[in-house]
Symmetry: C2
Subunit: 364 residues, 2 copies
């Protein structure tokens, strides 16, 4: 029964099949992660104890770094990494993409808490290039690169470009920090291990609730002296909790569950993007995904797209998004990340739904 | 079998009966809290969602404040409260006890992240008095009072003194902030509700892993405009996690389990302190506890006390502490907080053990 008064978010919530993600963020995600854990296991205690030490060491090894520290959030971990690099250089300035998480999602924490200025490199709608890096005349302590660049659909530079930027930074004494919130997700495209990619960087942050699908939590990795200093800042930020184990245990559990599936998610994303690109007035960025994520752009106003997606969800029981971002008077977009749910969607139903959507879009 | 090579921490870990606390900090604490929760319950999402909203509202009501915000830690919550008061006053200076948590346990986060100076009020070994407050000539934005003052055994001012300090601060335009890490624990002694005590303060922090026995987490409460501003700072600090529910659910669970038992814990503490004070060379601070906590001081070097406590643990299967703080060449101390475990200790065994300890101490 079609009810066109339904919001897109409601239609999304009611559809039997959701195309992206691993599943809803519900308490059972934590319950499942804890099912296998011996209740007699001791909590970590203000950053110490085997439950945190062992996971930190495991992640240091995976990332090919001397040392790693578990943080409640990437916001905290990354500000701290940049602060340490600035203190060492004696320069309170860093460079990153105009749509970096630090610039648009953190209420200017880097500036307000650390008095660190940012140089916005390149343009908002494209990747940072070696030429952008070379063009900066001002002195700065650290360059942050986000791989993939999430806000432009999860694009990636060619690996050779990345290597050239890394070499240039080392020559210039500029520290290179990786915002690797989706690091595991890009390993299939680059055909590199996490450690190989991280070897280009002086410090690295990874997240456990994107492709890994945990609850929250982050790792910062690098040389031991930097990591020791990061623990002091973690306490200052209020992140050195008496027990971080709910996040550590769930990060570990879902890391083990999903890190081996990143190639599969990547293949899903390429397949799904090609289905969207076959629709009238839809294009994906990147056209061919380089990880499990991409953005889907409609050449039509959100107010016209929304009822179509509501109808599609009701008619085919397939939901592709709960929201639309207006990107202009006559365009809108949303983000897609493939994951465990994709394989539960009947392929024929999905193709029927997108064929129907294509037809509707042609009539606009 | 007595093994005198055992460390105090090991002897503590092996004893059948531990006198203080609620129990070991183990993963089962979280598992138990989650057992009753419907797995289909949605996570909070960056500070929003009913799971966080409802608990925040419940705590605002308990504390008699307009609004409350859940934080991962008190370190984060309190720095932020003081920062907001300083920004409003245009004065980057606050006052607190020389042994305040902010001064000795936070790696100077307040100074390093917020550039806020501290005035240390009164003396380290006693409570802040109204005279101390009146004696400050410098301008400052906020006075932080910790109730009870943990580092001196959990002492409390007379309620009338507290009221007088509150009145004075209001007259002078100084904001009064409560470090209420152990607020629920002091309600039986004062014979006041949390809301009555909090009415003397402009902002209040409470903790969920002291007397409440949760895993981690804190609430900051006050007027709605202050709380809204605190959310911005929470994001800047990296504490606005995509999901704080592991701490929220466990805080809620153990709050409901234990908030009604604070009077009982207080009675236990008074009884236990009197047993210690009956021993030669032992005194407690306060002599008569005013909450569930107190400090136990030996007039003997830690190196002499430690083997006695190891032996006591092995001979009577009763452990009273896992550590000793050296407080001078010939003295040492440790902290005691009574809780659920106290009632599991056979009273006769405890009295026998302390009688034996008294005898041993008399021979030194």
């Amino acid at each position: 029964m079609v009810n066109n008064k339904l919001t897109l978010a409601d239609a999304f919530g009611q559809a039997a099949y959701i195309v992206g993600g691993h599943g809803s963020r519900k308490v059972k995600v934590l319950q499942e992660a804890l099912e296998q854990v011996d209740g007699e296991t001791f909590s970590d205690h203000y950053g110490n104890g085997s439950i945190i030490d062992e996971f930190q060491q495991e992640m240091a090894d995976v990332l090919g770094k001397e040392s790693a520290v578990f943080f409640p959030s990437g916001t905290m971990a990354q500000q701290i990494a940049l602060r340490i690099w600035c203190d060492r250089a004696g320069i309170k300035r860093v460079a990153y993409h105009p749509l970096s998480h630090l610039e648009i999602h953190e209420e200017d924490g880097l500036k307000e808490l650390h008095q660190i200025e940012s140089i916005l490199l390149g343009k908002a709608d494209r990747l940072i290039t070696l030429s952008d890096v070379k063009a900066i005349k001002e002195k700065y302590a650290c360059l942050l690169l986000e791989l993939p660049q999430r806000e432009i659909g999860g694009q990636l530079p060619a690996y050779e470009e990345l290597e050239a930027i890394s070499t240039y930074c080392r020559e210039q004494g500029i520290k290179l920090h990786l915002d690797g919130a989706r690091l595991f997700e890009i390993t299939p495209y680059y055909g590199k291990t996490p450690a190989e990619i991280c070897s280009l960087f002086d410090s690295v942050y990874i997240s456990f609730y994107k492709g890994i699908g945990g609850i929250a939590g982050a790792i910062l990795a690098g040389d031991t002296d930097i990591m020791q200093e990061s623990k002091v800042w973690k306490r200052r930020h209020g992140g050195d909790l008496i027990g971080l184990y709910p996040y550590i245990l769930s990060s570990k559990y879902y890391y083990n569950e999903r890190v081996g599936k990143m190639g599969h998610y990547y293949e899903q994303a390429k397949e799904l993007a090609s289905l969207f690109n076959a629709c009238h007035g839809i294009r994906t960025i990147p056209e061919i995904p380089v990880s499990n994520m991409f953005h889907i752009h409609f050449a039509l106003a959100a107010s016209e797209v929304e009822p179509l997606l509501v109808q599609m969800a009701q008619q085919f029981d397939i939901a592709i998004t709960s929201y639309l971002n207006k990107t202009g008077g006559n365009s809108c977009s949303f983000e897609m990340s493939t994951g465990d749910r994709y394989d539960t969607v009947p392929q024929e139903k999905l193709r029927d739904a997108l064929t129907w959507l294509d037809g509707e879009l042609q009539n606009r």
